[in-house]
């Protein structure tokens, strides 16, 4: 059974149609990359999966239920973790916000919660920073803390919105290596601009621009690596591989990568 099932989903902000007739199935332990242009509806699709926005048509099932009912199984890492950096808060407190409402002590946090949060920090390699003020971390470190916060609820699905947008190249690689590690146990969905990096780690890709085209790219990995020691490849090749219809410059360059559905 797929872990997320989306059927004929449409969504509009007032009269402006953002997503049209979306169909998508995510299987357990997939690493799905959602790519596409700015304003193409990527973040909106995530927010629909999280039940933040209400959709007008179609169905979304997360673990067989409406998204809002499955929230405790979803870990979410929002875009833009650089806001509110003046806020006086320690790393461990941020992580503990990830706990789902359960039994809570009258004051402060329970021992279990602290242990669990420390464990999540350990998992992302930030255990030494538990007592540090969040504002003094670098962008990459802060992003790890946000991932730890999402892991705190022991999610089965981890959803990240542009996780590397404000991080340097080394930091980006580290984040994706971390996600690869987490992917052994958790389904991962990542929205990103950075298609070349993400396709190296993802096994499936969905291109969203009002409509969605979906590709299983796990068997294409070998092709990528024939590309020499430079593991990045040009966007034209990628778009072609993803069957982008408006990319006519690359029609004949390397037809074996064409994956038009």
């Amino acid at each position: 059974m797929p872990i997320i099932e989306i059927h004929n989903l449409s969504f509009a902000y007032e009269s402006q149609v953002v997503l049209e007739n979306i169909n998508l199935q995510v299987e357990e332990k997939d690493f799905l990359a959602i790519i596409g242009p700015n304003g193409g509806g990527k973040s909106t699709l995530l927010k629909l999966m999280l039940g933040i926005n209400e959709y007008q048509e179609g169905t979304i099932k997360v673990l067989g239920n409406a998204p809002k009912k499955s929230l405790s199984h979803i870990g979410y890492v929002p875009q833009n973790t650089n806001v509110n950096t003046d806020f006086p808060i320690k790393v461990i407190e941020v992580v503990m916000m990830g706990h789902v409402d359960g039994k809570r002590p009258l004051f402060g946090y329970s021992k279990d919660e602290i242990l669990c949060a420390s464990g999540a920090l350990e998992q992302v390699g930030m255990a030494d920073f538990a007592q540090t003020k969040i504002g003094s971390l670098s962008g990459g470190q802060r992003q790890r803390v946000m991932i730890a916060r999402a892991l705190c609820a022991h999610p089965r699905i981890l959803i990240l919105d542009e996780p590397t947008s404000s991080i340097d190249i080394t930091g980006q690689r580290e984040i994706y290596e971390l996600l690869r590690e987490l992917n052994k146990h958790i389904t991962i969905i990542v929205v990103s601009h950075d298609i070349s990096v993400i396709l190296e780690y993802a096994n499936k890709a969905a291109h969203v621009n009002k409509t969605l085209s979906y590709h299983d790219i796990s068997d294409k990995k070998s092709t990528f690596h024939q590309h020499g020691n430079n593991e990045h490849f040009c966007e034209i090749e990628l778009l072609q591989m993803l069957g982008s219809d408006n990319c006519d410059t690359c029609e004949d360059t390397n037809p074996k990568w064409s994956l038009k559905p």
Binding site: F87, P88, E93, V94, G98, G108
Partner: protein
Amino acid sequence: MIEPLLEALQFEFMQHALLAGILVSFAAGIIGSLIVVNRMVFLAGGIAHTSYGGIGLAVYFGLPIFLGASLFAVGAALLIAALTLKKRHRMDTFIGLIWAVGMAIGVIFVDLTPGYNVDLMGYLFGSILAVSTQDLYFMVGLLVLILAVVTLRYRDILAVSYDSEYAGLRGVNVRFFYTLILILSALTVVIAIKVVGLILVIAMLTIPVYIAEKLSSSLFSMMFLSGAIATLFTLVGLWFSYVYDLTSGASIIMVSAVSLGVFLLFTHKKT
């Protein structure tokens, strides 16, 4: 220097003033912290000025001033909460509007009250030497309420203040806590009017908080440090006010502002 102060403390109005100063400073420190981290400073200013409408109504209908101002301020807070939760991008326009209309209502009702020569300045700039026993009860009650809310619901308030979208996803009722913070702000503003007046209240809610924010690594310590700093400023301000015969509210604010200047000078040197 100390002697005249000890002498003054024998008067009941001076004891009341000191007690009121401490109670209000602590409330302002705690609530001011929440106002600052939630970026609600302009909003709190709006509520402070709007509450003058409540003062005018209370004067006209012969109600206790605190009651009139509190009801009106809480009403304004609820209105602002409803508007900002719906139309965030027009928030500043609405606040400016409510701000001015509230004051206008106050002025008109004071005008309409026959034979009443209310000490308008007392509400605008504070009248800490005129604190009644009843006022003190009200202040104690509010401080107890604030302490109860911020200790028992600390996690929810922290989550909503730090990242409201995420808090919502984790099952925290964001609207409820946002509104609660605004209501507590409104009530704090009302008691602070007694001490520094409604024009100066914003300084009391922000200056100690700004200093405390730099020195704290958690919201909890920031709230209590702000309370302590605000108390210090209030006591020193009161002392100046008594010794040099100055308006108490303005003295407190000037002490705060000068201290902030010194603080910034020293912290700036370090970096």
